[in-house]
Homo-oligomer: 361 residues x 2
C-alpha cells in the first residue's frame, strides 16, 4: 500500500500527516543543529524550548487557570493508576472511583490495593453501555478524591457533562483530552497517555494543581520518581524525559492551534462522529451500537448480526485502506476510533463503506 | 549548520546516521503499511515483530544464556532504582550497593528508603576517581542482592572486571551496555536506559533471570505496573510500550550486528578512547584526567588549568562542530562521551583539536 490509509486504531493512533512530514524533514537535522532532536541532551536549550512550548500550548488549549503545572512523565495512564493513590490517599481517607469501563476499573483496583477505595458509582452490571447519572453517584465518608475516566475507549462511552464535587476531582482523559471543551478548573489532576489524541506512545501528560502538589510534597517515604513534586520542582527534567515523543506532542499541539484550537476541533469531532452514528441509527438494527447513551465522539463501537459478518467487515475495510476497525476483545464487534487527527474524509469513507456493506449483506 | 556535527553529549546521545536515515525514509509509511510506525497499535503484528526482533537481538548480542527475559519498560534507570528493592528486598534481608558514582548513590538512596541497605564499597571519599578493588568490598549479612553501576557516566570510570558474588548481582549498565563483552550469566538483572548506547530516550531495557522473576511473582501487594512479572508475562505489552523508541533501538541493534557485533565494536571503542586518552597522557598536565584508574571507554572526563580555559575549550569546539563537551556540573571541566555510534573520525577530530588548543593556549 503506497498511499496513506485511514487508521482507526484505538491507540497508538493516527497522527496529523503534516506533523509526520515536519518530523521527517528535520529528523536528521533539527533546526540546523546538525543532529536529530533524538540525539540532543534533555538539558540542551532546544529540548528545553520544546518542553516549555508544549507546556504552554497545553495550558492555552485546555484553558488552564493559574495554579497548575503540566508534567511530562513516563509509564502511561497505568502508572498514574498507582501514583495517584500513593500521593493522595492517606490511611484515614477513602478514594472514590466512578467505574464506567475497564480502565476505570483498573484504576480502582490499584487504589484498593494501596488504601481504602470505594466504588461510588458503576455501570458494570450494564456492561458499561453508558456512564452514570449524577443521582447514581454515592460518595463514601472521608473522601480523599474522586477519580473518573472521561472517555471509555473500549466501550465507546463518554461523560458528556462532568459531575462536580467539593473534593479533589481526578480524571484519566487519555482517550479524549483536547477533543472538546470543558472547565479544567473543576479538576485537580488530569492525566493522559499521549498515544491517542496527543502524539506517539511513550509520554504521559499530567496537569496538576498546586493544592495537590502541596500534598505530595509532604510524602516523605515515596520513591523519588513516584512523587509528583519531584517532577514539578525539576520541570520534568529530574530524569531524562521521553524527548522524541514530547517533540511530536509539541508538533501536534501546534497543529491543533492551526486548526482553530479545541473549539473548532470539537465541532469537527462532533460532525465526524455524527456521520457514523447516523448510519448506525438508520440501519434498522443491521449495526447495533454498544453504547445505549453517553456515546463517545472518539470511539464508536458497534456489533453486527454475527461474528462471521464482523470478520468480513474487518477484512473488507482493511482491503479498502480502512485499518484497525476490529473491536476490543472484551466487547467484540467493530470499533472506529476517530481522534482529532482523523480527517472528515476518513469518517465519510467508513460511512460509505458501511452503507454498501449493509446493502450487500 | 548544515552538515552533521560530532555529538559528544552524555545522553541522549549520537545515533548511527544510517539508523536515522532509515527512520526518516519510512517515517510516513512503515513497510508499505500506509502509516507511520508511531501510529500503529502496539498489538499490531508489525509492532510485535519489532519488539520480538529487538528482544532476540539483545539476547544474541549480549550472549545471554537460557533462562532470561528481555523487557521494554519506561521511566529510565531512575525507575529501576526503586523497582529493584520493591521486588527483591524483603524485610529480613539487606540490599548491598557498590557506590562508585552519582547514579550508584541514587540507587542506594532509593534502596535505603525502601528497606535495609548497606554500602558494601564506595569511592566517594576519593571523589569517584576510580571504582573499588575486590578487597575493598565488604558485604553485609543476609544479602538480598548486590547492585553495581558498570560505567559511571559523570566521572568517567568503569568496572573493567566485574566482581563476582554468590548472591544475585544486579547492574545498571545504562552508559556502557553493548559497548564491550562480559559474561551476562554472572548477572541476575541488567537494566539500561536506552538514551546512551541503545537509542533515544523513552525506553528502558531490562534483562532479568527467571530466578528473580519467580521472586517478583510472589509479591502480591505491589502495584501491577511495578512488578517485573507483569511485564514478563505479557511480553512487555501489559500497557502501551514506548513504540517509536523501541523501533529505533531495534534499528540500532541491527546496525550493531552489521558492525560485527559487540566483539568488533569493543575493539573500535577501545581504539576511539585510546586516541583521546593518549592526548591527555602526553599533554604534560595541560589536560588532567578525572579518573585516576578504571578509565571509561565511554565517557572521558578531564579538567584544564582553569575554568576560563575550559569555557574557551567548549566554545571553540562547538564552533568547529564538536558539540556537547561541557562536563557535568558536579565535576566541571570537559566530558567527551563516545558511545558506540560515535565514529572514529569524531574522536580523531577532537584529538586534533586538543593538540592545537594546547599549542595555542
Amino acid at each position: 500500500m503506497n498511499k496513506r490509509v485511514y487508521n482507526f486504531y484505538a491507540g497508538p493512533a493516527t497522527l496529523p500527516e503534516n506533523v509526520l512530514k515536519t518530523a521527517q524533514t528535520e529528523l536528521l537535522n533539527y533546526q540546523n543543529s546538525g543532529m536529530s532532536i533524538m540525539e540532543m541532551s534533555h538539558r540542551s536549550p532546544s529540548v528545553e524550548k520544546v518542553m516549555s512550548s508544549a507546556e504552554q500550548s497545553i495550558k492555552e488549549l485546555l484553558n488552564i487557570p493559574e495554579g497548575y503545572r503540566v508534567l511530562f512523565l513516563q509509564g502511561g495512564a497505568s502508572s498514574q493508576f498507582f501514583m495517584v493513590p500513593y500521593n493522595f490517599l492517606p490511611k484515614n481517607k477513602v478514594a472514590n472511583y466512578l467505574v464506567t469501563g475497564s480502565f476505570a476499573e483498573k484504576a480502582y483496583q490499584e487504589g484498593a490495593q494501596i488504601g481504602q477505595a470505594h466504588v461510588a458509582a458503576t455501570t458494570k452490571e450494564l456492561k458499561y453501555t453508558r456512564v452514570n447519572t449524577p443521582d447514581e453517584i454515592s460518595l463514601s465518608k472521608d473522601v480523599a478524591y474522586v477519580h473518573l475516566t472521561s472517555n471509555n475507549t473500549i466501550y465507546g462511552t463518554q461523560w458528556d457533562k462532568f459531575p462536580e464535587f467539593d473534593v479533589p476531582l481526578i480524571a484519566d482523559m487519555s482517550s479524549d483530552i483536547l477533543s472538546r471543551q470543558f472547565d479544567a478548573s473543576k479538576f485537580d489532576l488530569i492525566y493522559a497517555g499521549a498515544q491517542k489524541n496527543l502524539g506517539p506512545a511513550g509520554v504521559t501528560i499530567v496537569v496538576i494543581s498546586n493544592d495537590l502538589l502541596e500534598i505530595s510534597a509532604q510524602q516523605k517515604t515515596l520513591p523519588t520518581m513516584l512523587n509528583y513534586t519531584t517532577h514539578a520542582q525539576k520541570d520534568s527534567l529530574y530524569n531524562t524525559p521521553s524527548v522524541f515523543p514530547i517533540y511530536i506532542v509539541n508538533l501536534v499541539l501546534e497543529w491543533l492551534k492551526e486548526q482553530g484550537g479545541v473549539v473548532e476541533v470539537e465541532k469537527q469531532n462532533r460532525h465526524k462522529a455524527g456521520i457514523i452514528y447516523d448510519i448506525i441509527d438508520q440501519s434498522d438494527g443491521f449495526y447495533q451500537g454498544h453504547a445505549q447513551r453517553d456515546r463517545s465522539i472518539m470511539n464508536i463501537t458497534f456489533r453486527l448480526q454475527n461474528e462471521d459478518l464482523e470478520k468480513k467487515f474487518v477484512q473488507e475495510t482493511a482491503d479498502k485502506g480502512l485499518i484497525g476497525l476490529k473491536g476490543h476483545r472484551s466487547v467484540g464487534g467493530i470499533r472506529a476510533s476517530i481522534y482529532n487527527a482523523m480527517p472528515v474524509s476518513g469518517c465519510q469513507a467508513l460511512a460509505d463503506f458501511m452503507i454498501n456493506f449493509m446493502r450487500n449483506n
